[in-house]
C-alpha cells in the first residue's frame, strides 16, 4: 500500500495514476500465475503439456520407423509439427479450461476482475500467461526429441530468430483460440466442445506431415489452410529444417491473421463473459 501512495504522489495526472495502478495490477496477476505454476502445479503443467507430444514422438517418430511403417527420416519431418502442436495445444488448454472453471464453478476469476485494471487487460494477461506456458512446453520438446527420436534433433540449419518468433506468436495464437473456446462454450458443454474442437485441430494442422506433401490430396490440403496450427507447424518446419514448406509470406500472414482474429474475439468474448 505504501508504494502505491508514493507512486501516486510522483505521478501527478489522474491518467498517470490510473495507468500506474493498472500496470501494477497486471504485474501482480502475472506474479500470481507464475507462482501458482512453479510452486503449486509444476508437475500438472508439465504432464498436461508434454505427455501427449511424448507419445506422439515415441509412437510416430520411433516405433513406426522401427517396425517399417514409416521412413527413417520421418522423425525430422515430425519434430517441428510436434513442437507447434505442443505450443498451440498447451496455450489453448491453459486458457480454455481455467476460464470455463473460473467463470462458473470456482468463480476464481472474480477476484481478478475486481483488480484495478480494465477487464480487457485481464484478458490479455490471461492470454499472455497461457502463451508463456505454451512456449515453454514447445521449447521442452527439443531435448525430448533428442532423447526419443532415433536420429536425435539436428539444429544445424535452424533459423533461431524465426524459431523464437513462431514459438511466441504461435503460443499467443493458441491462447487466443483457447480464450474464444473458453468464453463461447457454456460450462456444461466444455467436455464435448473439447472433443469436437481439439481432435480436428490436432489432425488437420500439418502436424504429422509437411503441407506440401499433401499435393495428391488437394481437397484436404486446402482444408488444412483453415487451421491456424498449419501455419505454426509450417513455420516451425521452415525455421528448423530444409524441408519444403509454405511460402514464408503465407506463414507470416496466416499466423498474424489467426492471432488478430482469435486474439480479438477472445478479448471480446472475455469482456462479455466478465460483465453483463
Amino acid at each position: 500500500m505504501t508504494t502505491s501512495v508514493r507512486s501516486s504522489r510522483s505521478v501527478t495526472t489522474a491518467g498517470g495514476v490510473q495507468r500506474m495502478s493498472a500496470w501494477r495490477a497486471f504485474l501482480g496477476l502475472c506474479q500470481r500465475d507464475l507462482w501458482a505454476t512453479v510452486r503449486h502445479e509444476p508437475l500438472a503443467f508439465l504432464s498436461q503439456a508434454l505427455l501427449q507430444p511424448i507419445f506422439f514422438l515415441f509412437v510416430f517418430g520411433r516405433v513406426l520407423p522401427e517396425i517399417g511403417a514409416a521412413g527413417d527420416a520421418y522423425g525430422a519431418q515430425l519434430l517441428p509439427g510436434i513442437i507447434a502442436l505442443t505450443v498451440v495445444l498447451t496455450a489453448v488448454q491453459n486458457t480454455a479450461l481455467p476460464l470455463v472453471i473460473g467463470f462458473s464453478f470456482t468463480k476464481e476469476l472474480e477476484d481478478r476482475l475486481l483488480a484495478p485494471l480494465p477487464v480487457e487487460a485481464v484478458a490479455v494477461q490471461t492470454m499472455l500467461m497461457a502463451a508463456a506456458r505454451g512456449a515453454i512446453g514447445g521449447l521442452l520438446i527439443l531435448p525430448l526429441g533428442q532423447l526419443i527420436l532415433p536420429g536425435g534433433v539436428n539444429l544445424g540449419e535452424t533459423v533461431w530468430l524465426g524459431f523464437v518468433l513462431i514459438l511466441l506468436l504461435g503460443a499467443i495464437t493458441g491462447a487466443g483460440m483457447g480464450m474464444v473456446l473458453g468464453t463461447s462454450v457454456p460450462p456444461t458443454r466444455i467436455s464435448v466442445a473439447f472433443a469436437v474442437v481439439l481432435t480436428p485441430l490436432i489432425f488437420t494442422g500439418s502436424t504429422f506431415y509437411p503441407w506440401a506433401a499433401l499435393g495428391r490430396l488437394r481437397w484436404f490440403q486446402v482444408l488444412t489452410l483453415a487451421n491456424p496450427l498449419t501455419y505454426v507447424s509450417e513455420g516451425m518446419r521452415a525455421a528448423l529444417t530444409p524441408i519444403d514448406h509454405l511460402p514464408t509470406v503465407a506463414i507470416a500472414l496466416g499466423i498474424l491473421a489467426s492471432l488478430t482474429v482469435f486474439g480479438g474475439l477472445g478479448v471480446r468474448g472475455f469482456a462479455r463473459r466478465a460483465t453483463s
Binding site: M1, T3, Q18, S21, R24, A25, A36, E108, D111, T275
Partner: protein, 333 residues
C-alpha cells in the same frame, strides 16, 4: 411479532460527510433487449461511513444492483456513482475503492490462505514485504493463525468466509460490499462477522450489505432499502420501517394480582385492542395495541391506580420481517 424494549441506537440519517459515497440514481437494467427491466428505476444513496442494507426477495434486483456498483454489470439506464466516480466511465477508478465479499467462495484454490491475501494485495500495488506482513496480521485478526499455509480447499465454510473478508480488507477499501455474508455460517462465525462489521463501521468504512436475515439487517444497518420487482418499495431506518405496520405496535405489561385485567384497560386512551393472559403464579400479561406515543405512560398509570404492581413494561413493534412480508407479499419467488 417481537417484544422490543431498547431504544433505537441507529443513526437516523446514517453518517454525515461530504455527499454520499454511493449514489444510485434511477438505475435500470434489462439483460435481454425485449425482456423485462430486472432493475426498474432504483434510487438510493449511501452516506460515507454508513452501513446500508439492501433487502429483497430472490430475483428482486439486489444482486444486479450490486453488480452495477461493483462494475460487473453495465447499467441500461440511470447512473451509479461511487465516491463521485461514474461506474460506467471509470470502472477501474471504482475498483480501486471497493471490495466485495461474495455469497459463494471465490477463493483461489491453487494457492494457500496467506498467498490468497498476499496476491490480492499485489493486484492493488502493495509491495512484497508490506503485503506479507499485512496478510499475517489479517489472518491472526480473523482467527486463522496456524492455518496460513494450508490450501484453501481444506477450509471450512466459516473459515473461507473469514478469509474472503480478510482478503477484501487487504487493500483497505473505502466501500465494502457484503453479499449475503452470513447465509451459510454457524452462530459463532455469524457473531464474529457481526462484530467485525461493527468494527469496520467504526473505522469509517462504508458498508453495503445484502441479506435475507431480517434480524441481522435490523441489528446492523443504519438504513435499509427494501427492493422488490426492480424497485425500492421502502427506504428508512430499521426502526421507522418497523413502525410501518401500525396494527402490530403497542405496549406489553406484566402485572401482579388476581383477576383478568382486560376490563381494566378497555378504556385506555389510544388503545385499540386489549389482550390478557395469566402469566406465572399470580400475574397477568397484558398486550394493548395502538400507536399512541403515550400508550406506555397511560398503561403504567392505570395499573398503578388499580393497585396492581407493575412487573414488566415494554413497547411492542412489528418485526422487520413482518414489514418485509407486508411489503413484498407471501408468494414464492
Amino acid at each position: 411479532m417481537s417484544v422490543e424494549s431498547n431504544v433505537d441506537l441507529g443513526a437516523e440519517e446514517g453518517a454525515a460527510g461530504a455527499g454520499p459515497f454511493v449514489l444510485v440514481d434511477e438505475l435500470r437494467k434489462r439483460f435481454v433487449s425485449d425482456g423485462p427491466d430486472v432493475v426498474d428505476g432504483i434510487s438510493f444513496s449511501v452516506g460515507r461511513g454508513e452501513l446500508f442494507g439492501l433487502l429483497g426477495p430472490n430475483g428482486a434486483g439486489k444482486t444486479t444492483t450490486i453488480g452495477v456498483i461493483t462494475t460487473r454489470v453495465h447499467p441500461s439506464g440511470g447512473r451509479v456513482l461511487v465516491d463521485g466516480i461514474d461506474v460506467s466511465r471509470d470502472p477501474v477508478g471504482v475498483k480501486r475503492r471497493i471490495a466485495v465479499v461474495p455469497q459463494q467462495s471465490n477463493l483461489d484454490r491453487t494457492l494457500t490462505a496467506v498467498e490468497n491475501l498476499s496476491f490480492h494485495a499485489a493486484y492493488f500495488g502493495s509491495n512484497r514485504r508490506d503485503r506479507r506482513l499485512r496478510a499475517r496480521e489479517m489472518l491472526a485478526r480473523f482467527g486463522l493463525e496456524g492455518r496460513e499455509d494450508e490450501a484453501v480447499n481444506n477450509y471450512s465454510g466459516g473459515m473461507a468466509q473469514r478469509l474472503m473478508l480478510a482478503r477484501a480488507l487487504m487493500h483497505r477499501p473505502q466501500l465494502l460490499v457484503l453479499d449475503e455474508p452470513t447465509s451459510a455460517l454457524d452462530p459463532q462465525s455469524r457473531l464474529f462477522l457481526w462484530d467485525t462489521i461493527r468494527d469496520l463501521r467504526r473505522d469509517g468504512v462504508t458498508i453495503l450489505l445484502t441479506t435475507h436475515d431480517m434480524d441481522e439487517a435490523d441489528l446492523l444497518c443504519d438504513r435499509i432499502a427494501i427492493v422488490d420487482h426492480g424497485k425500492v418499495v421502502a427506504l428508512d431506518t430499521p426502526r421507522r420501517l418497523r413502525q410501518l405496520l401500525p396494527s402490530d405496535a403497542g405496549v406489553e405489561l406484566v402485572i401482579d394480582g388476581d383477576g383478568d385485567p382486560t376490563q381494566l384497560f378497555s378504556e385506555i386512551e389510544g388503545g385499540r385492542r386489549v389482550e390478557a393472559q395469566p402469566a406465572g403464579q399470580d400475574g397477568w400479561q397484558v398486550r394493548i395495541y395502538g400507536d399512541d406515543d403515550r400508550l406506555t405512560e397511560h398503561a403504567a398509570e392505570m395499573a398503578r391506580r388499580a393497585g396492581r404492581p407493575l412487573v414488566e413494561l415494554r413497547r411492542i413493534e412489528g418485526t422487520l420481517e413482518d414489514v418485509f412480508v407486508h411489503l413484498t407479499g407471501r408468494e414464492l419467488r
